[in-house]
Symmetry: none
Subunit: 212 residues, 4 copies
DNA sequence: GATGAATGAGTATTCATTCAT
DNA sequence: TATGAATGAATACTCATTCAT
């Protein structure tokens, strides 16, 4: 008796999340309207408010699980002792790129720290927390690669590392090409960029050691 | 007489472009309304439609001259024989970053190739042309730096070079911090990233030469 | 068994009434939503419709008992033989003011005879009945004060007496000040107004007697 | 050429004001929607925003002229030297009642001091100013009637005087009876109430003088 | 060449209410 | 008896655009 209803409810919620996910991803958070989402989810736009307090809340409920998932994947890779640091770095970066291209909407959230209003910023904080953690994971692996402790230099290097990733993403995430094809096309350049950065870091490191 | 009228008309058009330019730059394309532009340009909002079919068209017509200006500046730098290639690269990159942060709206156009509807894609093509030229300038200077001819390897390197720039831009262009402050904060990391990339390119180059 | 069920049902109904009463009183009829009432009453919002056709009906069913209570209180005061008529009048007026400020919503109902749609005006009639009874009680006490029989002159006087009360209420019932504070501030003026009215009535009475 | 357009514009503005006036008066500010007003005014709801920044602004632009008019009428009456103070008081009170019953919407504004948000309270302040001036006019005339200087006692008396007026208004302003009929019915009671209040004030004044 | 008037489509959100269970 | 799911209508307000002049 109850189960039928609650099943339906869950279906609706999923439909909404999936619709919102697709739309946000393809058109961007701001451009998508609640009515549009509702139409795509085959329900009334008021129904959305039954499940999500807000457009923003909807976006965040949409983001958190997949970001968490990404983080876990990354951590798993990091913990594989058999792997070389550079391979780990390559792989987690790959995961990151994959993820972002598959979740174009989230990627924007992920990068935009912007406009954090003071009041009721709880959900934003959670996301921010995740961002920092993911950033931290990559920074640590980069540290391993370069045998660098967690200092300012490592911080500067990982920022540059991230710029590279973001640059790739922001260049390609608006393309309408199917993600998998896109990735295939991207990967060689992307791997090359990793190698170049790492050797760049290494020479810069040597240089700065010599100076001291 | 005709000339007087057409002169006035030119003036109005310029006023609109200038107003739109300022507003788009400071507040972003989406946030600015046609009425706002009209007010700033000291004309009626309907007048805008006399000169520009669309808000979008206005944006595109607006982008062209300023991108052209940027291109010219870059070319001028390139032609200074006195300068070392690496310094040229640093300076034109600096120009580019400056320009993009000062024209946040254009930056998005510049990067987004997106959503090309079939009809009336002419202006988009023009912009694309400029993009390619600017990209080409940087590629050439990078070629000079690395003593590389215009081959696939240089292409790959310059893509990576661009990713770095885009990454910086996409990370910071949504921040509401005043541009000048932002730049001051950014420049050290930015210059560091250039050095790292260049030495990265160089080692990678050596490596690939050794392989052959 | 039936009794157990109907008992529970009674309880729910009471809970709803009590919740609605509190909320209407503190926030006003329009501002309170059915869901809010349901939450406060610990039931689903649909349950409310089991007992009350309408939000409006709920309000009316809610008004009756508390108005009845007010009436009973007033009657009790009237029947205290020890008290002087003027003191009785003062006290019942006080009760009335208290009640109305504490039930801002009911106060509006109480005063508004308005918009009587033809269908289903029964509850409104009941309220009207009560209004008249309360009005009648005050009129009678006023009659005692002035030693006037129940004639047209007394009717006119009591209308004026009521205007004074309504005037106070309509002036202050929209203020957001906490009721008790408000009352404290109001009472001196209110008591003064009673004295003035009564002596006004008395002189007017003398005057009209002289004329005859 | 211009005149035809500007004529049309003025017509539209008038239509909106008139529609809003009627609707606010009959149903109350909160209950009336912008779309409703637009329909009544035979224009699109967006057109309203061409002429009035806000629903609130619309209300205020609607109120100011008629309140100002009321004030002027009152002042004119006050300045008639031939009239006895009591007659002046009677007449300006009459004007006030007339006005309020004819502008049921404004009357509510006039009485409700409520919810003055800090930001952009300019229009409210103007109204408040007028309220105080009108109140002040009546207070002064009352002072003349009672030969009282402008002291606390006069203040208390005029408050009571106002309660009486408000009481009448709040009792009858929701009735759907046509205003003129209503007034005819009301006037005798209203005049009686004035007489009673004045003689009440006088005896109370004597009483308080004796005490000293 | 230029503009004021006007509008339809759109925004997020809230609410009282109904329906199926 | 009771309830979760669902919805249509409504809210104030904004915007790019068009039409008549």
């Amino acid at each position: 008796m109850n189960s039928k209803q609650s099943h339906r409810s869950e279906e609706t919620k999923k439909a909404i999340l999936s619709a919102a996910g697709k739309l946000f991803a393809s058109k961007g958070y701001d451009t998508v309207s609640m009515r549009e989402i509702a139409k795509q989810a085959n329900c009334s736009h008021t129904t959305i408010y039954l499940y999500f307090k807000d457009k923003e809340t909807l976006l965040h409920q949409l983001s958190m699980p997949s970001l968490t998932h990404l983080k876990q994947k990354m951590q798993a890779i990091v913990q594989l002792d058999a792997k070389m640091p550079e391979d780990k770095l390559k792989e987690i970066s790959n995961q990151f790129i994959h993820f972002c291209l598959n979740n174009k909407n989230l990627y924007t959230i992920f990068i935009n720290v912007k406009s954090t209003r003071i009041d009721e910023q709880k959900p934003k904080l959670e996301i921010n927390q995740l961002r920092l953690e993911i950033f931290s994971i990559m920074k640590n692996v980069l540290g391993e690669c370069l045998s660098l402790p967690n200092n300012d230099q490592l911080l500067a290097y990982s920022r540059i590392f991230f710029y590279n990733l973001y640059g790739i993403l922001s260049t390609y995430s608006y393309q309408h090409e199917p993600t998998e094809e896109l990735l295939e096309r991207l990967i060689p350049t992307f791997e090359l960029s990793l190698e170049i950065l790492i050797s760049g870091f290494k020479s810069n490191l040597k240089l700065s050691e010599e100076k001291q």
